[in-house]
């Protein structure tokens, strides 16, 4: 059952839409980031996706939760961005962001984080999205399957494949 905010969103209430997407933006950005791996393009993807979603409410049939539907739009928009614009990685240490460690081991940790980022960059975008949705953002395999438009078994395979790559990196 949808909340009052969701009902207003679906009715085309601009203010309600703004409030709703602000509530969900960080998690949605996680999906976009997982695919495009670039902060500027993440912004582009999100802005385009929100515009698409607002324009497409008449196609929302209510079978999936509104947030799931939004996640799907973000994911497809991110894939479009990736396919159209090409892969362009910003090797910017600043993008490690506020989580950058400090202290005596900071230099080693920073290298490890860069290497882990590189390993994640090297994953299939769909594998990376599945990993982020499940391990990063706590979605179930069924929820991730609905968002990515795939079968549950496919999600499980993607996450397993991604974990295998990470394990190989850790052991190297």
């Amino acid at each position: 059952m949808s909340s009052d905010l969701e009902r207003r969103v679906l009715a085309g209430d601009v203010a309600a839409f703004g409030a709703y997407v602000r509530q969900h933006d960080h998690r949605l950005r996680g999906v976009a980031w997982a695919v495009v791996r670039d902060s500027h393009r993440t912004d582009d993807v999100m802005q385009t996706a929100y515009e698409k979603a607002f324009r497409s409410f008449d196609t929302y049939d209510g079978r999936a939760a509104l947030s799931t539907w939004l996640h799907s739009i973000v994911y497809r928009t991110a894939l479009d961005e990736l396919r159209y614009e090409g892969r362009r990685r910003h090797d910017d240490v600043d993008e490690i962001g506020s989580a950058a460690p400090t202290g005596p081991d900071a230099a080693t940790s920073a290298v490890d984080r860069l290497e882990l980022e590189s390993v994640l960059d090297g994953l299939n975008p769909a594998d990376r999205a599945a990993l982020t949705l499940t391990v990063g953002l706590g979605h179930s395999y069924d929820e991730a399957a609905e968002i990515l438009g795939e079968r549950r078994g496919t999600i499980a395979s993607r996450v397993s494949r991604a974990r295998e790559r990470l394990t190989r990196w850790e052991q190297s």
């Binding site: 703004g18 479009d80 396919r83 362009r88 993008e95 962001g97 984080r113 395979s157």
Partner: protein, 501 residues
């Protein structure tokens, strides 16, 4: 690293939005909701067609909410909303006529008396059934298609088939694509208008996807008519593509496959028979001595001799390195490939016509040396500009000055752009009968918040207009280190044009 640690890392990686992010979203949603007119529509006004040799853009007025361009399709809409950074001085010189000081005009002056041409000189749609919106180009007419137009096909209903996502275009003979222009096999029912066109060896058919939207052009080989018998494919091998395992059904469209399945990477023998069920294509394969059926989206054809998951070949073409940064050429398709070559932005690589699918993306085989080939991601290259022009992009990353040479007919112009921030994209787009250049400094415009007034736009447009049917091809981009002497030397006879400090 356990799941908790990995989860925390993945969450911490998610970047916060840049400044202006929410303002942009709010502006777009408000515009979509019709609460205010589109800024592009406001700026599309009459355009003068006066040849002007020097333009000094000094009349800038601050605004907020300047649209941020992203994809090439948006550049078409942005053609009427030229956004310039504070301090840019645009000097256009004729390379063959240095002494044209008497022709200097400033943007603050009204355009000389001319008969203004309509800013949106949009031809009538080909079938008369669709009206263009003010911020999108009109459907291409039969006249504009010219020799590309083929004999019509009978209208009917079609679906997208095959293994890969298909990109549809607003215009089959340029690189223009619309929003939501990617289609998955079986997702939509398309209605053919009957029009066909041939461009660079690829046949396109015009389809209506949404009755309220413009028709799109799809590669003919990527769509099949519903209700028609599918032509058989040559018997070949296919490889299970979907991760995990795929089900091999007893009949096309039948979800229950019993216990027969194939693992990802397993090679299957295709009999060549195909079927269309519920708008999705199924292929018949041989497995364990039985004939079974598999969704076409779950397998890809295999070039057994080369071990590649190939897609249908395209006409071999020259590809221009686009916005992906320096082009990486790998020894095989897929992110695991080894780097064997490269090309800079604007460089040209020659395709062999072979395409492959790897890591969920499309790859092109290209020539890198005599007898040697490599692979590039398809979305990092683009067809070079044509006379009818799409766009070419120049970058001034880290430099203070960008010099862009344009050519039109037999004349060349050098535009010198002294920028206070990085000019990331310069695109030539066509609007009506004029060919305009939109300069778009990503990010800086939003910070500075400048708008292009009607006078400025007219003067800018007039400076690049040559005759009635004008086009500009960007032939060279150069970055120049910013010293006044170097700029003066580049500009030539206009040393008095002010440049930013």
């Amino acid at each position: 690293m356990n799941d908790d640690e990995l989860g925390r890392f993945l969450r911490d990686e998610i970047p916060e939005p840049d400044d202006g992010y929410w303002e942009e979203i709010d502006a777009r949603i408000a515009a979509e909701a019709g609460q205010r007119p589109s800024p592009v529509a406001d700026l599309v006004t009459d355009v003068g067609q006066t040849d002007v040799d020097v333009i000094r853009l000094t009349d800038m007025r601050p605004i907020t909410g300047s649209p941020r361009s992203t994809l090439v399709p948006r550049l078409v809409a942005m053609a009427a909303a030229l956004v310039l950074v504070a301090g840019i001085a645009v000097v256009v010189t004729r390379s063959d006529d240095p002494d044209t000081s008497t022709d200097v005009a400033e943007s603050t002056d009204p355009a000389p008396d001319t008969d203004p041409a309509p800013a949106t000189d949009e031809p009538a749609p080909g079938d008369g059934s669709l009206q263009p919106s003010p911020d999108e180009p009109a459907p291409i007419t039969d006249e504009e298609l010219g020799e590309a137009l083929l004999d019509p096909i009978a209208p009917g209903e079609y679906v997208v088939v095959g293994a890969a996502t298909v990109e549809a275009k607003l215009n089959p003979i340029t690189d223009e694509a619309g929003l939501d222009a990617f289609f998955e096999p079986g997702d939509d029912v398309l209605s053919a208008t009957g029009r066909r066109a041939l461009y660079q060896g690829v046949e396109f058919v015009e389809m209506i996807v949404d009755a309220d939207a413009k028709p799109l052009w799809f590669p003919a080989g990527a769509v099949l008519q519903i209700g028609e018998t599918l032509p058989t494919l040559e018997g070949s091998q296919v490889e299970a593509w979907e991760f995990g395992s795929i089900l091999l059904s007893r009949a096309p469209g039948l979800a229950d496959a019993g216990e027969v399945s194939a693992s990802a990477g397993e090679l299957l023998e295709a009999t060549g028979r195909r079927a269309l069920v519920d708008h999705r294509e199924w292929l018949q394969i041989s497995a364990a001595g039985e004939r079974r059926w598999v969704l076409a989206t779950e397998v890809v054809p295999v070039d057994a001799a080369r071990g590649l998951e190939t897609l249908s070949p395209i006409a071999s073409a020259e590809w221009e390195v686009g916005r992906g940064g320096e082009l990486e050429i790998l020894d095989r398709p897929g992110f695991d490939g080894t780097l064997v070559g490269g090309a800079e932005i604007g460089g040209i690589v020659s395709g062999t016509g072979v395409r492959a699918l790897a890591d969920g993306l499309e790859w092109y085989e290209v020539l890198i040396a005599e007898g040697q080939v490599g692979w590039v991601m398809a979305n990092t290259v683009q067809a070079p500009d044509t006379i009818l022009g799409s766009s070419r992009q120049c970058y001034a990353d880290g430099a203070d000055v960008l010099a862009i040479t344009f050519s039109g007919d037999a004349e060349t112009f050098t535009g010198v752009f002294a920028v206070g921030d990085s000019v990331e994209a310069v695109a030539g787009v066509r609007l009506g009968a004029d060919f305009l250049v939109a300069i778009e400094p990503i990010g800086a415009a939003e910070e500075a918040g400048f708008e292009v007034g009607q006078e400025t736009w007219q003067a800018f447009a007039a400076g690049f207009s040559i005759g009635e049917r004008a086009f500009l091809e960007i032939v060279e981009c150069r970055t120049v280190q910013s010293t006044v002497d170097q700029l003066d030397a580049l500009v030539g006879t206009y040393p008095d044009v002010p440049f930013p400090d």
